[in-house]
Each structure stands twice: as structure tokens, then as C-alpha cells.
Amino acid sequence: MRTPFRSRYSPAVSLADRLITRFGAHRGLWRLRVRIRNARFGVSRSVFGISYSVEQKSGTATALPYLLRNAVLPVLIALALVVAMDLLNAPMAEQAKDWGWPAISAGTYDLLFQAVAATTGVFLALYFTAVATVAANVYVNVPHDIRALLVRDRLGNLYVSGVAFTIALSVLLLIAHALTGRAYWLAPPAIGLLAAFSIFAFIRLGQRAFYLADPTLLANTLAYDFGSWLKRSKAGGHQWRDPSFQQHYHRQARASATSLASLVAIADDQPHLRSGSLRQLTTVVVALLSGYLGLRDKIPTSSRWFGGRYEHKQWYLTSGTELDTATATATALQPATVPDVTWVEDMLLPPLVGLLEADLKHQNYEAAYDLLGKLAAVHSRLGERWAAPYGAGQVACITSLATKHLPREDLPEPLRPALIPGVWDSVAMLPLSLDLGFHTYVTRCPISQLSQKLLSGDWSEPRAPYAIGAPREVVATLEKIQAGREFERAVDAPPATQTPNWYAREVALNSYEHAFQTQIIALVDLLTAWYPTVAQTLIGAKQPDAAGAVLSRGLEAAWKLEAHLDDWEAIAAALRDGPLLIELRRPQWDWSAIREKVSKMQTELLRQLADLIPLHAARERSADMPDYLGEAVHRVGEASFSALVANDAELFCHLFPTYFVGVLAVVDRIREQAADWDAQQAATAMAEPVADLMDISGFALILSELHGNPQLWEPCETRWSQYLQGGDGARRLAIVAALHNHQRHLFALTPRGTGRARWQMRVGELLTALPRGPSSSPFDPGQVEHPSALIRRIAPRGDLLGGLTHDASDLFVVRFVRTLVGADQLDFGVADWVIEALTEGEDEDDEEDKP
């Protein structure tokens, strides 16, 4: 590349660099450098001090409207009176003259100011007395930082300033009068106004003094302080790249966070604060945490805002320069300081978790439920900011607390038992919140959009890495690109050697992909392990309602996770879009293994749900409690059908027996409730679950033939035989016949009819897809080719209306129930033509089916 001949140094190389390079071996240079740096820091610190002071004053000024709002009306009335008096002054003067009043004397003038000074002084003393009383009684046992908050109360400070100013002005006016003998006409009204303001504002402030007894009200001051330090630490804040300032911001913010944590501990300790105050305080802490997490990635990743912890280096994995230095100087390797990214979360979450533990311990489930709801918001934000592994740690901590403190069956029942499953439901929401937060972020910020931003950004601009709202890992990569671009500018690199945006895009998207995979693995691991494990623990602890709540959330999580996986796979593919020009280490994806994990979790949850049915069935129904039995039976029924379709005999054998029991328990519960219903309505309600069960049994018969797997039919045959042929078999058979008969003669679409129709269509599709023999006419699709005569008989014709021509429950009745002793005398409501169609040539079929 031809480059024009240039002078020795371009201005791009800084004077500092040149001096350091030229005189680096002289100590004088380094001493001078330190002095310059200190002086520069001193100037920056002064500038910062001034701006901070201005900001504090403006912050205090925001309290002025509050005081004015309360003082303005009385002051206006006072003004109106003054104006009225002024208007009436001439006639009044005349009147006074008539009455013989003397003119205003100098003595009165002085007396007025003395009185004002004395009165406002009393107010000042009263205010401080009130504050001191509160401090002595309420704040005597609190740390100093909390007590100091009292002094920083903005409203009080403004009032004190105003009153002090009034006193000072009065005194000065008195001095001026004493020295010069002149009385200012404007002075009495001005002092009068200030005195009136002091009097009326004190009323409001005095009322507020009572609230100072509640230290939690001071949390807003702390949150405000924390936010102001956070704002400065963000990209673009005052001296945001200067490590000294970063350190200062960290120290100040840490002090605010520590005070906030202390406040939570104090509020937790004092019974009178454990209600509205505490709720308000936790709202402030959670809002602060959520807000902070939203802004955290706008702070430089290596900023001293994050503090630091030491990480020791290894001699055989250290860079050459450091190794040479350590060797030459016979010193140890200097440990690396790594940022403590989660220090704020680590400071503020434990007090909240401690609060939760106290709530659970004291059986204050309502407060625990409320707090868990707030924690779910924090977890959602953690997921959104790609902190799933950290969130998983928090979930584990909260789970262990819940397992430890939530009552077992051997303990006395709490007053509102429904709250316990409610609390478990909230705990179960935490892992899901992480997943939802993460998914919301990745779908809200499409890769194409991110890619475009990466291609069009000016990466030499120091604030650019933080402007696109990328996750922390991508920000770290973009910071390196930005530092590289800054280096290139400093060395005046020719254009073609300057890092182009396609490179920035490719390495940033690669970082994104790595971090994306880490999050997905963490989330899938957490969700697929947490729900089955916790549910199993609760089943073992004989807490069926709590287990039901967890399983319900678990199935929701599995369903959501399954849907999210499709989106995530598309995102992972989009990350590899476009030309990949650099050989980077790229993540390996095994989506089928991830899906398999989720599918296994789903199956495990369904098994556990099935295991819960007998426990639910043995309990009384409570209107306070969600219908966990109904949910379990419904879901296990759906899962049984899926297992039949998938030819999973092992799963079906596990699910069907408890499903059978569950359906009977549901019918019993409905029967109890339907005692005073209309007979038709009651029969319909009771027939619905039975119709589901008989349909599933019919499908078991069909699909065992279709798959050539008799194990699918065996559990049905066994269960039904035991139920209908025992001591009470004849009565049960009659009930089943009556319910089926009723159900078959209903013309209206029942609530569960749609679900059964869906099952029927699915089986119809399976049969339609079977291979067919040669067709004899354009309207004959040909005979289905299948070894089972039953399948050949019931398979749809394959035309546009193709579907099962017979109901599965009818088939079940005709092929099985009617064969039982005593059943031939009963009317199951199956039409004669259906019976004929399903039994015609049955003997031949059986003969044919024999091997």
C-alpha cells in the first residue's frame, strides 16, 4: 500500500505517549506524571464537587413545590388580607386619625422584627426537638447510616433553611436600623410573608414528623442516592471512564445499598413495621433492583463500579511480559482483579430472601406470597439481562427455604391452607420467570436488527458499545473493538488497516451466540430439573396440593419451553447468517438433545401428576383450593391419548390405571355437588368424564390393533374387568350403560366434546395415512392394507370427509362391554346399525386375526 511520506509524528500520537517513550527510563518523568495526574484529578474532583452540590440543591428544590402546595393557600390568603388592608389603608388611616391613633413608630418597627425572629426561632427549636425525640426513641438502636438519613430529610432541610433565613434577615434589618436609623418600607411586608410561610409550613412539617417514626419511609432517599451514583457510572456520566471516579461511585452506591439492606433488616425485626411499611420498603428495593439490572450493562464491563475480587494467575499460563517482569524483579505474579458483577444483587437480594424466610417461619403466607410475586419480577429481569445461572442460584436458595419452612402434613393446618399451594405456585413461577424474561429479550431484539446496528455503528465512539442494549458479553466484545479503534486512531492507521464493521459484527455475534448458548443450557437445565425434583419432594412430603401447584406450573413451563426452543433455534440460525469470514470458535448446537430433555421432563411431570391422582382423590374438595384433581385427571387423560398415539405402552400402562381412578373420583365429586341440580344437567355433567374414559378405552383398542401392540389394550381390559365384574359389578355396569346412553343421545355440543372430537380426528388421520390396495373405481380409494381386520373395517374411506365413521366409545361398548355378563340386557345407547357394522363378520375377523 502506498502511503504518502509524512512528518515524523502525526498529531494522532499524543504528547504524553511521546514523552513517556522518550524519557520513560527517568524517574523524574514518572514523578512529574503523578503530580500532573493528581492535579488533574484535583480539578476534576472540584468540578464534580460543584456539579454534585448543584445537583443536591436542585434535588432539594424539588421539595419546594411540596411545601409551597401546602403553604401557598394560607400565604395567598394572608396576601389578600394585606392587599385588602392596603386598599382600606387610606380610609383606615382617616379612621385611625379620627380615632386618634398615632403613626407607626420606629420602636414598633423594631419590635415587629424581634417578634418574628423570636417566633420563628421557637419553630426551629420545636422542629429539632421533634426530630431529636424521634431519633432518641425510634432510631436509638439503628446503625448510624440510617440515623443520618433523618438529617438528610429534604423537606426538613428546606424548612430549616427557610426559617433560618427569616431569622437572619430580621436580625440584619434590626442591625441596619440600629446603625443607620433608616426603616425600609418593603421590609415589614417581606418579613411578614416569610414569617407567614414559616408558620403554615410548620403545620405540614409537624404532621410529617410523626411519620419519621417509620424509618422505611427514608428508603426513597437511599434509592434516589443509589440511582444518582448509578447514573454517573453509566456510559456518558461524569468522568465515567476514570477509575478513581468509578471507585468513588461504587463506594457511595455501596453505602446506599448497605443502608437499604439494614433498613430491611430493621423493618423485619420490628413487629410494628411488618405490614404496610415493609411492603412499601420491599417495593422500593425490588424497583431499585429491577431498574439497576436494566441499566447494569450500560456500565463499562471493567468499571470499578463493580468493585473487584482478586484472581491469582498461574505461572505457566501468564503472558510473557508479566513473566519477564516477575522473573527480572524476583517478585510474585500480581493477581488479576476481576469485576464483581453481581455485588448489588448480592447485597439486596439476601435481605429480601431473609424476609421471605421470616414470613414462612411465622406462617405469614400472605406476605410471603406478595414478596414472591415481587421476586418474580426481579427474576424476570435477571433472565432479560442474561443472568440465568445467577438466577438459578437464587431459585435454589428460595426453594430450600420453602422446603424447610412450609408445613408438612404432620403439622397443624394453617388458617388458610390454600395459601400454601399459592406460595408454592409463586416459588414455581421463579424459574419460569427467568425463562420468560430471557425469551422476551431475545424475541424483542431480532438478530437482523442487531446485525444492522453492528454494521452501521461508529465503534470508535466510546459510548457506542453501550448504546445498542446488547447483553454484557457482547458489550465486552464491543468494548474491545472500540479500544482497538481508539488504538488505530492513536497510531494513525491507514484506512484499510482500520477494523471494519463487518469484523465487529462477526465477533460480536459470535460472543452473542456463546452467551446465548450458556443461557439456554442454564435455563433448560434449571427448568427440566427443578419441577420434577421439587414435585417429587412434595409428593414424598405428602403435600398433594403443593405438588399439584408445582406440577401445573411445570407443565406450563414445559409447554412454553417447547415453543421457545423453536424460536431459539431460529435465532441461533440467524446468528450464522451472512458470510462468515473469520475462523472463530463457534458453539456446537444439539437441538434434538435439548428437545429430548424437555420431552423427558414433560413425561416425568405427567407420571408424577398421575401418581398424585389417588392422593387428590382421597381428600375433600375445598372451594378455596384450585381443582388440582380435575386438572390432573384432565391432563393425564390427554397424556394417555398421546401415549397411545406414540405407541408408548410403558407410559400408557403407568398413566391409565390412575386415570381410571381419577375419572371415578371426579364423577363422585360431581355427583355430590349435583344432588340438587336438574336431573338432565346432572347426568350430562357426570357422563362427560365417563365418556372421556370410554373414548380413551376405545382408542386403546383401535391403536393396539393399529400398532400391533396388545400391551396398549391390556391395562384397559384389566381395569374395566375388575370394576365391572366385582361384587358391585352389575350396578356399576348399569350406571355406565345409563351414562353412555345419556351421553350418546345428547344433541348439544358438550364442553368436553371438542376434545374428544380432536382425538377422533387424530386417529382418523392415522388410519387415513395407511397404505391402500388397488382401486376398483374412481370413487373407491381401495382397501386399507393392514393385518388387523378391525382396522380394515373402521378405516376411513380417504375422501374429503375422511374420518372415523364410528365413535371410539361405541366400539369399546360393542367390542368389550357388551361381552360382559349381564351387559346384553342393558341399553348403552349405541345405534343398532353401529352394532351391526362393528360386529358383522366378527367371527371371521377373529379367525383371520388368529396366527
Partner: protein, 309 residues
């Protein structure tokens, strides 16, 4: 290879080191060493590639003459290709350390140009009619106290760096700057002092970073030499690769310049021939590759493949 002709005027000698000049060390030495490194195709890769050196028009007798004429390296060369490669590498080596080289065109007994002989390091003064090879003071005692050797202007072939890589003087200044700004040496001196801990404010990282920036800026025309095995300071991998390509381009520029100067000399000597080098990326091609890589047409691997010798 035949011995040197007897009518060489210049004196060949190894100059003494006590001339007070700062030795080229550190990164300056790396640059000087790397300039001839791989400037021509290496022997084993030459056999595998399409690299060729031809004399145009072909002439066996002239080829044999040129093979002897260009013998300025350390080893005997038996083919024109080897001789040209060796000549370019040796010249680039002189360029690396001095930015220029003076060759005396030594004649045979018939007064015909027979061999090139490089003048030893030291001052060469140009007068209206002659070049004066100045013998450094410490070495005069070994050469009968002579202060200089006068050589006719027509017998000297002066080769210097191409203009866009700077003058010989600026190149030597660059070497000295690289030497003096090598960060580790200064840091070591500072850190190894017994009272290192009391040296107020010494900041190794700041020292190293400043040196790296100054060095990279100084190397703007050359790119980064091969001895830099990893990205410098906060620079990116792209910058590292691009600067390597820029160094390849600078080497190609040196090579093309030396070949062009050689052909100009052959024209001056009225041989009617020219040396043609083919099958090796030219400076223009490398520049184009760098430009296209910057535009995102291909990545590092392809760019390096396209420019490798």
C-alpha cells in the same frame, strides 16, 4: 564461483563497533531482520509454486554472466534464480539496517563489469566526479592509515529504499526510535534498580502502552513486522492481520524496487536484457487484497493465502 577480480577499488572490511553509534536492538532489530525475511520465495516453496525468474530475452551466456555478477551473498549460486533471490535478500538486508547500500561494479581484466562488491558500513561521500569511501578512524590503522578510497562515480551503484518507505536517513532514525522505545528494556532498567519500590509513580502498563502506540505509529509505512506474533496493545485481530499484509506489501515494494533498479543498471551497462520475476504477489495485488478484505469480500485465511509466497 570464481574469485573476486583484482581491480576492485573499495576496501572490504568489518567496521569496528566503537564508533559511538547506538546499536540496533529490540524492536529496531526485529524490523531490520524481518525486512528480508521471505521477501523472495523460499527454496522449498519455489519448487511447489509458479514462481519464476527469467532473463529476457533469453541468453545463456548473459545468464551465466549475471549469475556471477550478482554474487553478493554468502553462498555460491549456480542458477540465475538463486543468484537473483540471494541478491534481493542481501540488498533487503542492507536496507533493513541502513536504508541503502553502495555496490562497486568491479571490472574484470578486460575492463568489463564482472562482479558487484558491497561497500562496508560507513560513510560514503559523493563529490562531483567520485565517490569517497571513508574509512572509520578506528579502522585506518589496518589500512595503512588511509582516510578514504576514491572510486569513480560510474563504478558505484547506489541503491536506496523506495521513496514511499522513507529516505535512508529516516529509516535509520526509525530503527533508533524503535530501539529506544522498546518498552521492556526501559522498564527492566527501572524495575531492576534496588529502590524500584520507591520510584514514585512508575507505571509499567502506561509505559508499555505508550511505547506500543509510538512504535506502531512509527511503523505506519511498513505495517507490523513478522516478529510481532500477537496483536499489539488493545488492537484487534483484524488490525494485526491487516498490518501483516501491509508489511507483505512493503516487502513486495522493496523487491520490485530492487528488481527495477537492477534492470536500470543492466540498461546502463548496455546488456539489452532485463530480469523478470513472476508467480509472486505484487505490491499492487497485496494492496488490492487488503482493500477487498477491508470491504468484507473475504476473510483472513483467504487474504493470507492470496498473499503468501
Amino acid at each position: 564461483m570464481s574469485a573476486l577480480p583484482t581491480n576492485r577499488r573499495s576496501i572490504g572490511f568489518f567496521p569496528s563497533r566503537d564508533d559511538g553509534a547506538m546499536p540496533v536492538t529490540g524492536d529496531g532489530w526485529f524490523l531490520a531482520r524481518d525486512i528480508p525475511l521471505g521477501i523472495m520465495s523460499l527454496g522449498y516453496s519455489r519448487r511447489e509454486s509458479s514462481f519464476r525468474i527469467d532473463l529476457q530475452p533469453p541468453d545463456e551466456q548473459r545468464t551465466e554472466w549475471l549469475t556471477n555478477f550478482l554474487h553478493v551473498g554468502q553462498f555460491d549460486r549456480h542458477s540465475l534464480e538463486d543468484a537473483v533471490v540471494d541478491f534481493v535478500e542481501t540488498t533487503a538486508n542492507y536496507f533493513g539496517y541502513f536504508g541503502e547500500v553502495y555496490f562497486e561494479i568491479a571490472a574484470d581484466a578486460d575492463g568489463q563489469p564482472a562482479r558487484l562488491a558491497a561497500l562496508a558500513r560507513g560513510r560514503v561521500v559523493l563529490t562531483p566526479t567520485k565517490y569517497l569511501q571513508v574509512i572509520p578512524k578506528p579502522d585506518r590503522q589496518y589500512h595503512d592509515g588511509r582516510r578514504y578510497i576514491a572510486i569513480p562515480r560510474a563504478d558505484i551503484w547506489h541503491l536506496r529504499l523506495p521513496d514511499d518507505l522513507g529516505s535512508p536517513h529516516s529509516h535509520r532514525r526509525l530503527l533508533h526510535r524503535l530501539t529506544s522505545s522498546s518498552p521492556l528494556a526501559a522498564s527492566m532498567a527501572m524495575l531492576q534498580s534496588p529502590n524500584a519500590k520507591t520510584t514514585t509513580g512508575y507505571d509499567f502498563v502506561a509505559h508499555r502502552d505508550a511505547s506500543e502506540r509510538v512504535q506502531e505509529r512509527a511503523m505506519r509505512r511498513w505495517g507490523s513486522f513478522f516478529s510481532r506474533q500477537s496483536p499489539v496493545g488493545a488492537s484487534t485481530e483484524y488490525f494485526y492481520i491487516a498490518r501483516r499484509l501491509a508489511f507483505h506489501a512493503a516487502q513486495a515494494r522493496v523487491r520490485e524496487h530492487v528488481i527495477a533498479e537492477l534492470n536500470a543498471l543492466l540498461t546502463r551497462l548496455a546488456t539489452g536484457h532485463a530480469v523478470v520475476v513472476t508467480g509472486i504477489p505484487t505490491a499492487r495485488e497485496i494492496d488490492d487484497t487488503l482493500r477487498r478484505m477491508h470491504a468484507g469480500e473475504f476473510g483472513f485465511k483467504e487474504a493470507l493465502d492470496r498473499t503468501s509466497i
